[in-house]
Amino acid sequence: MSLLAWSAVALVVVGLFFTIVAAVGLIRLPDLYTRAHATSKADTLGTLLTLAGVAVVFQSGVPRIKLGLLAVFMLITTPTATHAITRAAHDQGIAPWVLGGDEE
């Protein structure tokens, strides 16, 4: 395999790692707000890296521009969706989990 193919694989694998981190975080973290951290950040980077890996595979310009646009839309929509979800929770009066709050 060429260096190019290896770097594509590396990017996709690292991207997958962060996506898995997002999934693990979703399960392990205590409440909606902290889970939002895991999904908004790790998922974004995971997707971006995977897109970058795909961009390496495609040699021509046009698919890369499309991938770039995809990345930009990801960067806009992920935080917006996170914001919508956490805000809805906040409006419902769901109190955030805090350190030591469990003991009560």
């Binding site: 392990r28 205590p30 951290h37 908004s40 950040k41 109190a95 955030p96 805090v98 350190l99």
Partner: protein
Amino acid sequence: MSGTSGPRILVPVGDSVTLRNTVAYAVRELTEASEDGSVHFVFPTHWQTRQLDEEAAEAAEELLDRIQTWVREDLDLEPDEEVPMSVTTALIATEEYLFSYRDYADSLVEYAREHDLDHIVFDPEYNPDGQGPLLSPIEAELDRLDDITYETAPVEREIRGRQLLTGGINIGTFLGTFVLSFLFYQFLGGFSGTFDYATGAISAGIVAAVLSGITFSGDFRPLRALRTIGRLLVYFPFLLWEIAKANLQVAYIVLHPSLPIDPSVERIRPAVPIGLPVTLLANSITLTPGTVTIDIRDREFYVHAFSQSSRDGLYDGDLERWVRFVFFGRGGFRIASLRERGQADESADDQESPPATEEADSV
């Protein structure tokens, strides 16, 4: 409230086609009623204009001057004659950043109470941030109050649809929208020949004709837009770096056996104006180390912070400064950080008090 005396009217003003008639209506209301009424024309500046946008600040003051002149015209005053009734013009909320309609309503109500006004007259085309229709949400906020009534000035309203037919389209925004949508179409189509160029031009023409009125806030200024995009390209690597750091931090915390988190909700008042800058900042906060923007209300950001280190990062205000840089150039860096602006007190309190009390006042 002084319901027995003459009308006490508050008119929020901004650049609009029906402003002239609204002013005339307010003055007429005043002259037809008893004599001790008063009318205040106020311009919510919605950001610290002087510091960020000299041009907008001057435009606002010019507008208030123009209103003074109109009032004199309506009252048929000689140049040296005093205005007999209390007519006041003022810039309000000069030290605040108004993020939403709620903030507009709050600042209007605040002003009205301060000056003992009980009636608000809206210009039907009032659109203070140049973006969405803000009027009905403001009215919805006012509906909840007993002591302040409002109405929309019954003046002729220009129908938006008619602009299409009468050629009232702004050439700048039309071309801007056309070029953007044409390029987008070609990028997706891969610049693949005459057919695509023709269909692209037709589609872009339709999009521009229908949507150019709402694509840009205010007038489309190509040079300014280009500079903003240029600065956005400088901001982008910084943001990517911050995102990478955020991810390593989240990965570390999530995979650590003892899950070392110390979350809290912080309330901050960033110094950025309404519209795109607020959106960019809120989204950037969400994407970067350990912080998620939960809500924007009452002129404050509610930010959920993951750990102590992310709280520190938030109060350093790097992102805020970068966002101002993107929209207003290097001057944006000069405004002090949250900590320097005295909001550090809040963060100091947070560190001393148990985190559980922080959200005591929420909802």
